[in-house]
Amino acid sequence: MRRLQWAPALVVAALLIGACQPATPGGNIGQKPAKLTIAAVQGNEDAALKAVAPLYEQKTGIKIEIVEFPYDQLFEKLVTTFKANSPTYDLVMMDDPWMPKFGTDESLQPLDSTYGIKRDSDIPDVVYDVGTWPPPRGPVPPKAKGKAAHLIGVTIVGNVEMFMYRSDMGPAPKTWDEVKANADKNKKPNFWGYVVRGKATNPIVADFLPILWSFGGDVFDQNWNVTIDNAASLKAVKFLVQDLKAAAPPGSESIDAADRSRLMAIGQAYQSTVWPGEITEIVENSTVSQVKGKVSYIPMPAGPSGKGIGMMGNWLLGVPKASSNGQAAADFITWLTSSDTQKTYVEKGGIPARKSILNDASLNQKNPYFAALAKSLEAVPNWRPRTDQWNAVETILGTNLNAALAGLATPEDATKKAADQIRTLMKGAGY
């Protein structure tokens, strides 16, 4: 009778233990693992990755498990996983602005020295540069100064931010002034000359930086001094929150990429900036787009500085320090970026970085943005400042820009506030 008393407790305990699933064994270093786990971003960017993964399984017998998270959650997940030094993921997909943080924190294994991955001449240098830490160009964070450069990520999505416009309604704008003029000329009911991607923090900053650079402004100078409040930068801010906003639909302050590509796809927008992912998924997707074939893609228009500067937004694949399947992971990366695989990758909607593929005439037919992407890469686009504090900087800048866009602050006040807050932040971080 007494023993039966404990039966319920034993049942509960058994259930709890039974619910325990063993953590996926990583396998020994050197041995071939049964599977590789990749943490990837949910959405269009990993669609091609998911599509070609089975081919690798067929070739090597290694199962590829892809765990997806939306953008913000992927970043949080990677941060917490790296902090825990947990071996859960063998490969991680990363947006290039995250590389400085992961590089500074030494969360990734060096792919060149440990696994022998070398630069391929068919891939533009800038693509490798974005995955190298410390960065070979531009200001280097004080903590990373003097360290040997290593390749810690390889690009699998060759994203560069570009410009799109309805070519059936007008010529290509060469400058941002022309953008504005065309936008005003084409204003109709339920049709907007330009769509501002103005949602707070990451979206608005991604939309704004190419404009900022084309106007000759920048967030930092070569020595990490904050320059967002200088004359050129202020002009760019004013252009965004006053000139472009006037031509934009109401609600810019909460419009994100999904909303703006939707507006273009249903024929209610004339121009906007665009990422290749939106092009393949929405604007050129015949099941949802009413404007397929009517939109053209060009590199960023030029600003008062005389140059149009695109922005990199590559997605890279890297190997976390804690992964015990480093060699197998590196092999996967090499396979994925090889010319043959890239051809299949592109067929499945992937965005390549190889020059030979981007300049291929037949592929250009099916992917009208390839030419613009190739040109943008050749022009050497800029990248987001290589600082491990970028997330905080982007949050500060994005919040203040959004406030200016919403009319809560004047452009002067917003830029000054942003500049002051960023200065305090960078000082506290040791810059």
């Binding site: 639909p249 302050e253 909460s254 919040t399 203040n400 406030a403």
Partner: protein, 305 residues
């Protein structure tokens, strides 16, 4: 209800200060209570330790994280936004929930309709928060939001209203989601409470000629008062924790208008990576809440026995 002081002699078997019953009680309580206490306080202690370390978690920096946290003007903006949110949400939910409960209690007699209302009321509670956020976005979003569409089609307004992009409408929009989701809960609790009011008292009052309002004020409210207080506590606690639907709807914007406390904490931890400051904030929030809570319970006892 057992009288605690008059213990029958039989129970006084054990020696010492506690009766046998009490010893059994504490033997049962101690391990469970103790384990839970450990599970709850250990992270709190970890948070305290983290709050006196630097952002990377290595050096001891004394109280500078607390100083930084308190010196940040964004903290006060977040507190203000949370206060506004609470002021919008709580009175509305309680008044509406109470009004509905009374209305249904007085007017609706058929159990079928009552059951239907019960089911309708539980639906907002079982929706995943992200689904609630997405539904809200489908209603308020610029361009394809249903609300603007309906308002324009029925001719109430001419142009689209920028619900999420204007500070004056963003907070009400976000608050409305909370009200939509939790008023049914208040309704359910208070309606159940009304069901426990003894019919004899109500009928006696009606025989005496009391109006509906007097019925409510003098009889039903007495039975509902502890429940209302309980609801106030639970909802206040939830308001301090609200995160999901605000994140999906506005992300804290426009500017920092809807940046509530939980969103602010999230930002410090996951955007600024300042785990020291985040821990300091967490500790301060926990301490403040504990103090407020003990003050309120001392003034308004919830347990009436």
């Amino acid at each position: 209800m057992a009288n605690v002081t008059a213990r029958p002699a039989l129970s006084r078997v054990g020696a010492g200060r506690f009766t046998r019953q009490e010893r059994l009680a504490y033997t049962m309580l101690a391990p469970v209570f103790g384990t839970i206490l450990v599970i709850v306080t250990y992270p709190f202690l970890l948070a305290v330790v983290q709050s006196v370390q630097d952002a990377a978690g290595r050096e001891f920096v004394g109280a500078s994280n607390y100083a930084n946290a308190l010196a940040n003007p964004l903290l006060y903006e977040a507190l203000g936004a949370t206060g506004t949110y609470a002021a919008l949400v709580m009175p509305t939910e309680i008044v509406l929930g109470l009004g509905l409960a009374l209305l249904v209690h007085r007017v609706v007699r058929s159990t079928g309709v009552r059951a239907l209302l019960f089911v309708l009321a539980t639906i907002p509670l079982v929706l995943p928060p992200i689904a609630v956020g997405v539904i809200a976005r489908l209603i308020y979003a610029p361009g394809y939001g249903v609300l603007n569409h309906l308002l324009i089609v029925t001719g109430i307004v001419r142009d689209e209203i920028n619900w999420l992009g204007q500070p004056t409408t963003a907070m009400p929009a976000v608050a409305s989601v909370d009200i939509w989701q939790w008023t049914p809960f208040v309704y359910l609790v208070l309606f159940s409470g009304l069901l426990t009011v003894p019919r004899e008292e109500i009928e006696a009052a009606q025989v005496d000629g009391a109006s509906g309002w007097q019925q409510f004020w003098h009889i039903e409210l007495n039975y509902l008062r502890p429940l209302v207080l309980l609801i106030v506590f639970f909802r206040l606690a939830d308001v301090l924790r609200v995160f999901d639907h605000v994140f999906v709807l506005t992300g804290g914007g426009p500017g920092n208008t809807t940046q509530l406390l939980s969103l602010y904490l999230y930002r410090i931890e996951f955007k600024y990576f300042d785990s020291g400051q985040a821990a300091a904030l967490a500790v301060m929030v926990l301490v403040a809440v504990s103090i407020a809570y003990s003050l309120v319970t001392r003034a308004l006892p919830v347990e009436r026995r």
